[in-house]
Symmetry: C2
Subunit: 305 residues, 2 copies
């Protein structure tokens, strides 16, 4: 059994890569929920959906987000009404949110709904929301404005300076049943090449998770999201710099050293190998951009060995 700590896009690619070399039914993703939001009364779980859609082969490879063959009738009508349309909800995607919201309202657990959506899309792996309790990633800008995740990420296109990131509710959140087991009993635990401070940190903030990982340190392999010192996508580098962690392999190593024995870095960052060793970690240098089946397979094989 392999357990994977997951954000959205990078984690989806990691799970897809792992599915090339092991039976998907042996894979369990523990998925960030700090980005989840309620919009128009609908419960939206961006990371769970990104992974589900990608593993189902429904991801839109042209836009890099959303569903293939999506239509926008509802969003266009909503914009015409003057409604809050900055968060683009496609018609097909909306069905997922209506389905999840109705079932949550009728008392079904998010993990069950997630499993049913995976089954519907014939995805073989397991995804567990990191917690089913309220947990929201909150940003404070250098101007003192407080932003929700989607306000920061979508409305402001993460183009605003951040002074602090806070995980509201984390202190009272409990790991979803199965999460600690998946960490305790996995042969290998993989930290996806997701954004450390806003995709992985919200999972670590749930009481019990970081300790469970530290207990398994020898079997934890983290993958740096940096490529040539920059984030492949999203604001990971900018945020790490703004939060004083350093947008560098050194910063990533410092962030993961307590619970990961190995850090995988991209070939373009091979010169940083010493920074990883300095933090008491092993370092694996390999191509980490999963832009072809071959590279994906190579990375997956390497992190499992």
């Amino acid at each position: 059994m392999i357990t994977v700590l997951c954000g959205g896009v990078g984690a989806a690619k990691m799970l897809r890569a792992l599915s090339l070399v092991v039976d998907p039914s042996t894979l369990t993703g523990i998925v960030n929920v700090g980005d989840d939001l309620v919009l128009h009364g609908l419960k939206i779980c961006p990371d769970l959906d990104t992974i589900t859609y990608t593993l189902a082969g429904l991801d839109n490879t042209e836009t890099g987000w959303g569903l293939a063959g999506e239509t926008w009738r509802v969003r266009d009508e909503l914009a015409a009404l003057g409604g809050e349309a900055w968060f683009s909800l496609g018609d097909r995607d909306l069905a997922t949110h209506l389905y999840r919201t109705e079932r949550l309202r009728s008392g079904v657990d998010l993990r069950t709904i997630t499993a049913d959506l995976l089954a519907h899309h014939q995805v073989g792996c397991t995804l567990l929301p990191a917690t089913e309790d309220p947990l929201s990633t909150i940003f404070t800008t250098t101007e003192g404005d407080v932003l929700s995740f989607q306000e920061y990420f979508v409305k402001h296109h993460h183009d605003v300076a951040i002074a602090e990131v806070h995980f509201a509710g984390a202190v009272d959140a409990r790991p979803t049943p199965g999460v600690l087991d998946a960490i305790e009993h996995a042969e290998r635990i993989i930290v996806s090449p997701s954004n450390p401070v806003i995709s992985i940190a919200p999972i670590l903030a749930i009481p019990g998770v970081a300790d469970a990982l530290a207990d398994r340190r020898n079997d934890v392999v983290a993958i740096s999201p940096l490529i040539g010192g920059r984030a492949l996508k999203g604001p990971a580098d900018r945020l790490m710099e703004e939060l004083g962690l350093g947008a560098s392999t050194r910063g990533i190593a410092a962030f993961y050293a307590d619970f990961a024995e190995t850090l995988v870095i991209d070939s373009s960052d091979a010169d940083d190998l010493g920074d990883v060793i300095d933090h008491g970690m092993s370092c694996l240098v390999i191509d980490t951009v999963m832009d072809s089946v071959e590279r994906s397979r190579n990375l997956a094989t390497a992190v499992l060995q």
Copy 2:
């Protein structure tokens, strides 16, 4: 100023007819909210929407419900997921529900949202939800099953015997600001040819409304929904029979006599004129089916004289 008590389709036609003979800005509809529901987390107000869409010329004249040019992408995807798709939400209609839900969640009053939707659709009259407090029409079947309005109406196609209709929350509901004023100060108050027991009765159940109407009895004109003793549409006749009120002009007259001086009945029910007089009401006999501009105009002119 003219005030109209409203259900859905019949009221929409009545307001459209009145708009042919008076300036729409002089018309205020007090609209039933007993059918309102929260589905998939979305607040849905069927009667407010039916009237708004009809007055905007957006009603689907082929199906008799919903919007013209509607598409069904979300519903079809939701059905594929195995979600609750018995209540068909069109893509265009969904935008209204997302808009309303988001604004309600941000603390805006339903009457303000309703006014903004009317303005967006360039509808000149005023619509007031009868109350902004919780009020739900609940059915108890002869088998003892308890059904919400939409379960009765849409899921079961009103094809189940009803023993009792109850307006949950009515006793604590307050008339929306403007409702009592609209009754007290109107030159004429019109009760639409809507279903008395499930469209008009929920409005009457709000404390203060029935008394305000009774105080204006001389200026209240009610229109029977019966055509040849049968409902033109929907279960009005069946329900009145099942609830022991009688599916007849006599039953309608008895229901409205306390607060309406005049009952308008269709030419096909002219023989029932005596039943109206027996209840101490004036009776106007005229074609009440608003299936042409001319008949609509004639009915509107008659109820205003």
